[in-house]
Amino acid sequence: MNRAWEPVIGIECHVELKTATKMFCGCRNEFGGEPNTKTCPVCLGMPGALPVPNAKAIEQIVRTGLAFGAEIPAFSKFDRKNYFYPDMPKDYQISQYDMPLTVGGIVKYWLEDGTMKQCRLTRIHLEEDTGKSTHAGSGDGRIAGSSYSLLDFNRAGVPLMECVSEPELHSARDAVAYLESLRRTLLALEVSDVKMEEGSLRCDANVSVRVAGTTELGTKSEIKNMNSFRSVERAIASEIARQIEVLDSGGRVVQETRGWDELHGVTHPMRSKEEAHDYRYFPDPDLVPLAIARNDVERWKEKLPTLPCERFERYTGEYGLSVNAAAQLIDNIPLARYFDEVVARSENPQQSSNFVLGELSRLANETGVAVGDSNVTVEHLAELVALVQSKRINSKIAKELLARMWEGGGSPNAIVEREGLAQTSDPSAVERFVDEVLAANAAVVADYKAGKTNVLGFLVGQVMKASRGKADPALANELVKKKLSS
């Protein structure tokens, strides 16, 4: 008998912060570069060198915590995590053990169908990154079988945010949606590039399963080596399936660390250390405690940007945009900001999003100029939305106008006035164009009357052309039909 299983997933993310300099020294914090050119006595762990924390990194972590509604404890400190590894210069990592910068908080995320969910955070803390090892002599750059390793300490000491979730995610898709939301939020806060491919976002997943409806957690495995959102989803799904298979066949899940094998689509147990981890955490005597000032916290809280989830809820709820349209805007923060300003003026989110995501985005792509930097100001776009909404111009004219505004700027109202582009909704004026067109296309009229009703579109098009696009298309359609059937 197969029971119903519920997967339980917690995610630990390491995120490199986007500061100008490293966490504890003034070396440049920058991806890549010639090996060992961004190093100094401090980040090389030279004898006698001392760490001094980067105020900006602390601010970034606290702001991140605030964005997720975390508590900012009055007191925090740095601890040393002691273990030997060649790419860790001091052979201890400065981290935070029992007094992280932020505690708790909630990450809201949405699924493709627009469902909002949430996952609580345990904590966010600050630590320093290690250098990079390149394993050589094995042919494939892997550690297994390598005969020596090369070390580059450019990354050593880069500020790293560790963000730990509660085990509250219940599917591989939820886990990825959680990560997407985390990534979007960090981008909105401008605290990280969050690029998995450059390693500025790295994550591990703790996966277990339990009998559905029970509350006790099952034995977990920790999954590592996932280097894209897609591999996170595949790895978790594969691990859930593996654990269920083990349990269904009467076995037991072993607590262990498993590595994701992208090529074969499975997780493998990773070799465990001979001795248990004994990190000997203790307060770093080179650093003094942190007491984050309450007025700084208030100031940072007030200046938080609009967060992706707030936008998502507003766009899909109040504005009635599709999940897809909402996500497109949210994933282009300057565009979303532009859109918000247009909506604030036009009060027509649907039409505004049509322009912003349609014609304007197309022009932006074509010209390489961001919408927000273009000649089309938010005021002018709001005017254009109003012109369409009041039917003073039709959509074809609107598109032409937008192209002209992109080119040379200017108020659409003024252009419409100056060039008489306003839509003609006066039946007698439109009727004149209809008569002209029918007279000039006697053969087509004959076809129509012979039953080829599909020529109607052609005739209406000719009327629009004769009116230089200004005729109200609905009216033109109606009048052509009326005349043909009379």
Binding site: T21, R28, T39, F84, S147, S149, L150, D278
Partner: protein, 96 residues
């Protein structure tokens, strides 16, 4: 294990120091004795006493996020036991 004993082999493994049999014997004895002296601390009533990590109270000593000059790579690598090009080189790392 009583508080006064020390598992020298385990501790030496954590500290990454290879010890000879003589050293193991000698350090076990000496450090066991030292732990005996240290046991005197158990006499103190520290139930309501806060731990002191830093004796002079100080908070929030930070630096601005401003770049400073790095070391010249040649100077850095000249002091290395083994280098290869612009890298430090180490013997193979057994995955842990």
């Amino acid at each position: 294990m009583t508080p006064d004993t020390i598992d020298i082999r385990y501790v030496a493994t954590l500290a990454r120091i290879a010890l000879s049999d003589d050293e193991i014997e000698r350090f076990s004895k000496e450090l066991g004795e030292l732990l005996g002296h240290v046991r005197a601390l158990q006499e103190l009533d520290t139930a309501s006493v806060p731990a002191t990590a830093q004796v002079v109270e100080s908070r929030n000593v930070l630096r601005e996020d401003v770049e400073r000059p790095c070391l010249d790579r040649e100077v850095v690598l000249d002091g290395a036991p083994q280098r290869q090009g612009g890298f430090f080189r180490v013997p193979r790392i057994i995955a842990e």
